[in-house]
């Protein structure tokens, strides 16, 4: 655990030592703010809740999180530091978890900086802050799910552009899997796949959180989902580290 924290700490510090952190956070906040206020009619709705905020945040994540993860392993390879890191007395699993945790902590920091939204709704009305809290937990879990996908795909290719595009595509598939467009199509041909698609959809699970429902089943889903992708990540790092 000490090793994981040491690596994660170094990773997180590296985000802030480069312009990556400031650019990401500023773009995230501007994009999320524009979506919530303009497309989401934050004020005109006349309701004291963060529903417009939560409606758009998975899509902002979909666009921006692969930008964090695309460099996760590709950058280590470009610099050659992967050879240094993986010849220190650590396991590959520790390196994978540490990098994931650092990226997740970074997302949590970006998410925490959306606090003015919470202050606004509390000033303007009497929102259910419990629902807001569970919505934020959901946001973190969606971020974790997308991060784990992106991290694994970053280990699969040397090329950062390919890593980004693949991660957006795969995240998109898991985001829309439960949409009628997908399930109706699958239902016509292979109903069993439609059922599976509904179960693995990330957005569906997230919407439960935004309604204030935190269920063990959904949390387990996200934990399993992240665990699966991190396992895949470890296998990919092992197979491709020296390519």
């Amino acid at each position: 655990m000490r090793i994981i924290l040491t690596i994660a700490q170094r990773e997180l510090a590296a985000y802030f030592a480069t312009p990556v952190a400031s650019v990401f956070i500023v773009i995230f906040l501007v994009l999320q703010g524009a979506m919530t206020f303009n497309l989401g009619n934050f004020f005109d709705r006349g309701q004291a809740d963060l529903n417009p905020f939560f409606t758009f945040i998975p899509w902002v994540f979909l666009l921006l999180i692969p930008a964090i993860t695309m460099r996760l392993w590709a950058e280590e390879r470009r610099l050659g530091t992967i050879e240094l890191l993986l010849t220190l007395p650590i396991t590959q699993g520790q390196a994978v978890i540490a990098k994931f945790l650092a990226a997740w902590a970074f997302c949590a920091i970006a998410l925490a900086l959306t606090f003015p939204f919470i202050i606004s709704v509390n000033l303007l009305g009497n929102p259910d802050n419990g629902v807001i809290a569970s919505g934020y937990v959901g946001c973190l879990l969606v971020a974790g799910a997308f991060l784990s996908i992106g991290s694994a795909l970053s280990a699969a290719t040397r090329n950062q552009v390919i890593a980004y595009v693949l991660a957006v595509a795969v995240c998109f598939v898991f985001a829309v899997a439960s949409y009628p467009l997908v399930t109706d199509f699958l239902n016509r041909n292979t109903p069993i796949l439609a059922e599976i698609a509904r179960r693995i959809a990330v957005i569906d699970r997230f919407q439960a959180f935004t309604r204030g429902v935190v269920s063990v089943r959904d949390v387990t889903f996200f934990a399993t989902f992240i665990g699966f992708w991190l396992f895949l990540n470890t296998v990919l790092v092992d197979q491709r580290k020296a390519d």
Binding site: R2, I3, T6, I7, R10, A14, A17, T18, L79, G80, T81, E83, L84, L86, T87, L88, P89, I90, T91, D238, K241, A242
Partner: protein, 249 residues
């Protein structure tokens, strides 16, 4: 060469690496005992770095095994890497970190903390003469300093086995001399493998030289013995003879 099993800290058996149809390293076997400095020579692309990467557990061999202090680098990798100080090719470091920041990171991963960590880092900085740039970000350093940061990282934990891929590349003559002296000073209690293109370096620091060409070991002897293999008595000529012969074959 005459390494008894007891003190052979590095044991490599039939190590082979194939990339598709290309065989980069072809069943290389050797042992290095405490007190030996093995100089790894060969033309570019001969398989030196690939062999070192496999020894460090970074690259998975197609066949064969490598052991460090009795620990297999593949099946017992963490224990093997604890005994190893490794300078990868090109001495990669995290560019945005300061010299001390980077060394403290490596020391923490190696399990040091508190006063012991400070002592280790200071000692490594002293050995590689990096005190003057200790707070500078690595990316602002010259090539020679970067190389020494990589070297300091490999020496932090005073490992019994050192594997250094071109430790003097990019250093000026004075710095080269210092690094060679450093290796000589450490020789007695360690097993050291260095790769180099500089043949005089082999004479200066190595107790044993191994020439590798096209992935195969073509010579393994003391530098003095190797020199006798050519009428001119120069290591240069021996090297050229052995490595170009293979190419023609």
């Amino acid at each position: 060469m005459a390494a008894d099993g007891e003190s052979a800290l590095i044991e490599i058996d039939g190590l082979t690496k194939r990339f598709g149809a290309f065989t980069a390293v072809d069943s290389v076997s050797f042992r290095v005992a405490r007190g030996e400095v093995l100089g790894f020579l060969g033309p570019n692309g001969a398989g030196k770095s690939t062999t070192m990467r496999m020894l460090a557990g970074f690259m998975i061999p197609t066949a064969g095994t490598a052991r460090i202090c009795g620990h297999d680098v593949q099946t017992d990798g963490v224990a093997a890497r604890r005994m190893l100080g490794f300078l990868p090719e090109g001495a990669p470091t995290y560019p945005e970190m300061s010299v001390t920041g980077f060394l403290r990171f490596c020391a923490k991963i190696r399990g040091f903390s508190g006063a012991e960590l400070d002592r280790r880092v200071d000692h490594a900085l002293g050995l590689t003469r990096l005190e003057s740039v200790r707070l500078q970000p690595v990316e602002t350093l010259s090539k020679g300093f970067k190389r020494r940061v990589g070297l300091a990282q490999a020496l932090l934990h005073d490992p019994p086995v050192l594997v250094l891929d071109e430790p003097t590349d990019g250093l000026d003559p004075n710095q080269k001399h210092e690094v060679r002296k450093l290796i000589q000073d450490m020789r007695a209690e360690k097993a050291i493998v260095i790769s180099t293109h500089i043949l005089e370096e082999v004479d200066a620091v190595c107790t044993r030289a191994m020439i590798i060409a096209r992935g195969r070991v073509v010579a393994d002897a003391t530098p003095a013995e190797l020199e006798k293999r050519h009428p001119s008595g120069k290591l240069d000529d021996v090297f050229r003879q052995l490595t170009t012969q293979k190419d023609a074959a």
